[in-house]
Structures are given as C-alpha cells and as structure tokens.
Symmetry: C2
C-alpha cells in the first residue's frame, strides 16, 4: 500500500509536523500495547491479526462446518457485526456474486428487518438440498441486538429449527446471554474479546469466520494487517500513512473542511467505504470530549465511487462548498483483461477507445480527475493498493483503524464508545414493550 | 404521499412564510409551463409524465422487443442515464432481485468500467439460450459518454455483434451522433427531449423503457408523478410539500446546516437515495450563481438506511456536529407478513419480540429514532409514502425534482447545468488521446 499527500493538500509543512508530534506519546502507547499483546486496553483490536489462537479457532470451526459442500453462509448481524465481512467479501467477489455461478460459497447478509429481503433470501436458499449446504452465523457483541435476534429466530425456524442447530454458529462476547444460552443449548460459539468493539472487530472471529467459510484467505488478510501495523506505528510521518492521514484530516477539519470523502475507483469497494463510514462516524462523532466538555465533535464520512459518481456528484465536488477532504483509493496493478473491440459497431462515435483496455480507459479518467482536483486546489490524498487481494485489504483496513485512533486522540474524544445511540434504543424499547 | 414538518424544525414560522413567498413568481412560471406543455423551457421535465406520446412510443417499443421471453435487460448508461431506473427497479424488486427466481425480467446495470463486473454480468447472461431473451438498452444523452460506449461496444461484440442488432435500443438526444449512427445502421432508437437533462429524465424514455420491459407499471408511475405535481405547484406552503421542503432546507443551509440526510427506513430505497444524491448534488453544487458571481453554492446530500445505519453512523448524527438536516422517508402501509416465532430458540434472550411482526418491530425503532431526534432538537421532516408501489415512487421522484428546482431558485443558481464536470473530462481525454 502506498500513500501520497505531498503537493495535494495545501497545508504548511510545519503545521503538519507540529500536529504529528502531538501524537508521539500515543504512538509509544500503541507500540507498547502491541509489544505486550492481549486484550486489556481499548486499542486491543491492534493485536487481533497477531493472535494465532483466533485464527486456529476460526479455521477449525470452518473445517467442522464446511465438509466441502457449503453453498451459503448467512451472516445475521448488523453494523460492526457485518460491515467488515461485507467489505472484504464484496471487494474480492464483487457486488454481483450472489447471482454468479462460480462454485464458491456465497455469503448472504441479513441485517435490518426487511420482509422483502427476507423473502428473497429464502427464495435464494430454495436450491439448498441438504442442511449441510448452509451455515447460519449469528453475530452480536452484546448478544441482544433486536434486529439480529428477530432475523435469526425467524430464519432458523423457517429452515427447520432445532434439528439444524448444528448449522448455527454464534459469534459473541463470552459474557453475553447469547453465549450462555448457546452453550446451554449446544450451539457452537466463537468469542469476541471484550475490549474489541464491533467497528474494530473485522480481524476477530466476527470477520474471519464467515470469510474463511467463503474460502477467502484469512492468513493473507491478517498478514496484510500485520505488515501495515509496523509502518503505521512509526514516529516518522513520512513513513507512517495512518499518522499522515489523521494529521491532514484533523488540520482540514480545524479549517472547516469537515466532510471526509472516500473516493474509491472500483465499484466493488463500496462496502469498504460503508465499513469506514461506521468506523469514522461512530468513533469521532461525540457529544463530549474525554474531559466531559460538550464539543459535538466529528467528521462526516461520505463514500464516492469512480467513475460512477463523476457522473453524479462531481459537479458538487468541483463547484460546491470547499468543505470536503478527499481520499482517493485506487488499485495499482490492474491488468487489462477486457478490451474495446478494434472493429467498432458505432465507428467514429467516441474517439480514443478503439482497442483500448478497460483499465487503461478508467485510469485516464482517474488521472484526469486528480488533475482537475489539483487545478481547483481541492485537497486530497491518494492511497494505492498494490492489487485487489486479501493482503492489500488487510493493509487498508488496519491502516484505517489506526488512523481513526490517531484522529480521535487529536480530537480528544473516546474512539471506542458510542454513548448517544442508547437513547433511540431506549425509546424504541419503550414502544416495543407497550 | 404525506409530508410533515411542524414542530420538528425549530424555525420561525415567519421566516418560513417569507421565504416561501419569494417563490411565488417561480411557482407561477412552473404552472404556466405545465399548462403550456412542450419542452422549450429548462423545466421541461415537468411535462414528461403528461406526455402520452412518450408512453406510447415506449410501450410500443417494449412490445416489439419483449415477445414474452425476455429474461435480461442490460441498461448500459451512467449517472442520469441509469440512476432513475435503478431507483424504481430496486425499490420494487429489491436489492437481491438478480439472484431471485420469480420469472420476472431482470435489469442488469453496466455503468462504470469494471472488468470484474463485466465478467460477472456475462457469467449471469450465460443462461440465455436465444438472443430474444436479452435486450441491450444503451443510454446516453450526449451519445458520446466514454464509459457507456466502451461498455456497449465490448458487450455487444461479445454477445454476437451485428447479428443481434435488433436486440439493441439506443436512447439518446435526437441531435446526437449516436442517434444519427443508430438510424443509419438500423438500430432502434428512443428520443430524449433536448431540454431534459439526465438527472430529470426518469419519466422520459430513459427510465420508462427499461422499467416497462421489466414489467413495471409505467402508467401507474407517471400517474403518481402527475398527481403530486398538482400539489407541488400550489402557492400555499401548508399544502405544497416541495415548497415546504425546499424552504426548510434553504433556511437550514443559511444557518450552517448544510448536509442533507435522506434517511430511508427500507434498505431497498437506497438507490432512490443515490438518484436524489445526483439530483441535489449536480443541481445545487455551483461555483457561480446565475449572475456569474462566485458563490460555491451547494448542499451535500448523504443517504442513510434505517435501521442499518442506526448501528453505523447514528452516533455521529446524535453526538456530532449540528450540520445535518434530515428527511425521514418511510412507508405508511406495511403489512406484517413475517412474524418472529412464538416458540423461540433463544427464549428469554431479547424481550418484546416474541410473535411480533417484522414491520411492528421496525416501526418501534423508527418511532424511537424520531423521538430521539426531537429530544436532541435535531431538525427533520418526514415523508410517508402510502405504500411501496409505482404510484408512490412516481409521487416521490416528482416531488423531489420540483423541490430541487425551488431550492436552486432560492439559492439563485442554475438547476439544469453542470459546467464544472467538463474539466476532468478534458484532462481525461487528453490522457486517453496520447
């Protein structure tokens, strides 16, 4: 993974350096946490990729549940319980995978309560001949997420109830009621370390188990995460992309540029954007800072897709308010595999595309977009993944989690709680209990 | 469709009334345009739903191309050429439709250049036995959109080239080169009126033709649009939701609340959100106002989905900066069709869900969310669609197009151009031509 920000951000080098130096102490703390290992700190998620026990538990469970004929993994979970899995799965298998015939197991997601989607999901599952072809992974840190348990109970009952209980794995906190109930009834379980919150849990069993079932290489994924953790814990900003990115976002935010636009030049990275949207939104959006002062802090994450959104919201990005800081994300090595024919049906209609590879054309649009950003002095940074595989995705996700920890530290807010969401839940519960 | 804003916006009634009165003249103009009919004004799109010729052209072409065994419609188009179609199609058929077996024709979308998605799309098309089962609708207002023509040429060639030219329909401006070429080669065409830009074109052949092919009731869709146009052209703000919505967004924007959050409580309305995102972003995001003064105007549209995003970015909405104005969109009549079993597997784990309908549970979360918004004095309005059908969608889309025309008028910008996107295109072309 490469990270570029020189000459595209229009900030003073000194401001950048001074701000980066504010994080020296915190960087030392994170290094200590990684050296020490274990899960006692809020930043415990840093240690997940290094934890061989998690991987062996996950791979053992995946082996036990697979038997070579697994067709569908239904992930029942919402928010932090499915966004990481969705990010990696869609990036590697594509948004159309559910309808593609390639013999690989497919992950289906049940998150919110949608009758239409529940019907459609059970329609898709109709081609299952034996319960061994399906695995339900119910995921909830607290164990009591209303939508998750309601979806699970309904699906489980429809697919046969107790007689398929060996086709269920519950991923949850060891101290949750769900864990206790599952153990009692004899449902297999995987644990989420207590200090690892949903939005930081992609490298725990939450993400690794369904991904492993879908034959995604979780060794390679965590290897990428481990690899980038090294550079993202360095003091030197010129070597540390997480530090650089957090400092730039922080400084822009202080200058009123408070929308963070993650602009992916691949439509299959949309779910990576949705994962980051939660990570940033929930970690930084805080009423109070760590000292209890009301600050209403936060940066609003938005997700754009190239080249699609150039035909949708680019006019706003170029002409509208100067309130956005953009992170372009592209893939470096994209081989041309599809070529526009040399013999065109509409010969002479569009110049310059004849015989060209798709990636070559898209790349010219990407470079043209960056030039237009530069010409218009719209601040951006660029992340280049070396290719679209497990390793690069592991790098990107870990890079972003560390970046957000740094950003929260600069904004002086707690990156690991989400106190404000309790209120709507309380109101909803009161209505539901009536 | 119902629209509510009283007691949820915290603005002075007088400010609202005074601002609304600024639009009196423009409302008269729009009424005149509708009375007069035709397509000579920028606001010509208002007359599309009333145009019986468009509908008969579209239905005739759909009849000619269907023959009862149509399985796949491939819409090749980007931005305004596919977002309206996607909005209506996904709202009615669901995000999983591509993989569902229900005997209905499926729309597949090719927008940006993605090798992965191109491969997957052709994989899905492998079950096509005869070319009559497939129809390619290539859509481009200008006729020269690079991604669209590159995708089309590649797909067309792969599916057999010239010998399947009767399975192609080109939707474009009558004066475009694509129109001329298609006519010359003998490819069927449908016209887009010159003054109707992409983001206002859903009720032209751009949206109506693929939707009609997919057996979506375009009569009912345009009937909804016609129905709401009546109230959205009234002077009285208490009767006119487009006027009320635009005035509220404008006033909030003037108070620094410059992010517009469309919060849909149905995951299948996501594409409606993406359609609106273009409509708002491209119509209001302007460097210069109508007098040529540099204003960098614009409101940033974001799309949220309930209840999914309550588990993702709600913490930001409740705790973060007070920079968002929210439009909740929900469906009024949702029958409970799926019920959580009475006999629970995890009995006693989550209270209050046993035997409850999915819609009842989701509705409690929705009402709880609105209460939390009210308690936190976060401004919002509410749109209730009477049910999720063509009529309601027609109402919603037309309501939003008129709302944006009003908003542009209040912001004193041109709602119908997109001058800033030319620059990246120019840069991209220079690279491509090298």
């Amino acid at each position: 993974m490469k990270f570029f920000y020189k000459n595209t951000c229009f900030l003073e080098e000194e401001d950048i350096k001074n701000t980066a130096s504010l994080l020296n102490g915190y960087i030392r703390k994170l290094n200590d946490i990684v050296k020490k290992g274990g899960y006692e700190y809020d930043e415990a998620s840093l240690n997940l990729p290094f934890d061989e026990n998690i991987k062996s538990d996950v791979l053992e469970m995946a082996k036990k549940k697979s038997n070579g004929n697994l067709k569908y993994i239904v992930v029942v979970g919402i928010g932090g319980s499915n966004l990481g899995t969705m990010a990696v799965y869609q990036a590697l298998r594509g948004v159309l995978h559910t309808a593609v015939s390639d013999g690989l197991p497919k992950i289906l997601f049940l998150d919110t309560l949608s009758q239409k989607n529940f019907f459609d999901l059970t329609n898709i599952l109709k081609d299952v001949k034996d319960s061994s072809e399906i695995l339900i992974n119910v995921i909830s840190k607290s164990g009591s997420t209303v939508e998750t348990i309601a979806n699970f109970e309904s699906l489980f009952s429809q697919l046969g109830g107790k007689k398929i209980k060996d086709r269920v794995v519950a991923t949850t906190d060891q101290d949750s009621l769900l864990y206790e109930f599952a153990q009692k009834i004899g449902v297999d379980t995987l644990k989420i370390p207590k200090k690892v919150g949903g939005r930081y849990s992609v490298f725990s069993a939450v993400g690794l188990f369904p991904l492993a079932l879908a034959k995604i290489d979780i060794e390679k994924l965590t290897k990428g995460a481990k690899n980038i953790a090294g550079v993202c814990l360095e003091d030197d900003i010129s070597k540390n992309p997480a530090l650089a990115s957090s400092v730039l976002m922080f400084l822009h935010s202080k200058h009123g540029i408070n929308i963070s636009n993650s602009f992916f030049f691949d439509p299959n990275l949309n779910a990576v954007g949705l994962w980051y949207r939660q990570l940033m939104g929930e970690s930084l959006g805080k009423k109070k800072n760590k000292e209890g002062k009301i600050v209403n802090s936060g940066i609003t994450p938005i997700v754009s897709l190239g080249s699609t959104d150039l035909h949708s919201v680019a006019q706003l990005f170029f002409g509208g308010p100067k309130d956005k800081f953009t992170t372009f994300v592209n893939v470096e090595k994209k081989e041309n595999q599809i070529f526009v024919p040399n013999d065109l049906f509409f010969e002479g209609l569009v110049k310059g595309i004849k015989g060209k590879g798709f990636e070559e054309i898209l790349s010219s649009i990407y470079e043209g977009t960056k030039l237009a950003y530069k010409n218009n002095k719209i601040p951006f940074v660029e992340v280049l993944l070396s290719c679209l595989d497990e390793f690069s995705l592991g790098e990107f996700l870990q890079f972003k989690m560390i970046e957000i920890m740094y950003l929260a530290e600069l904004l002086e807010v707690n990156a690991f709680d989400q106190p404000s969401v309790e209120e709507y839940k309380k109101e909803a519960r009161a209505i539901l209990d009536k």
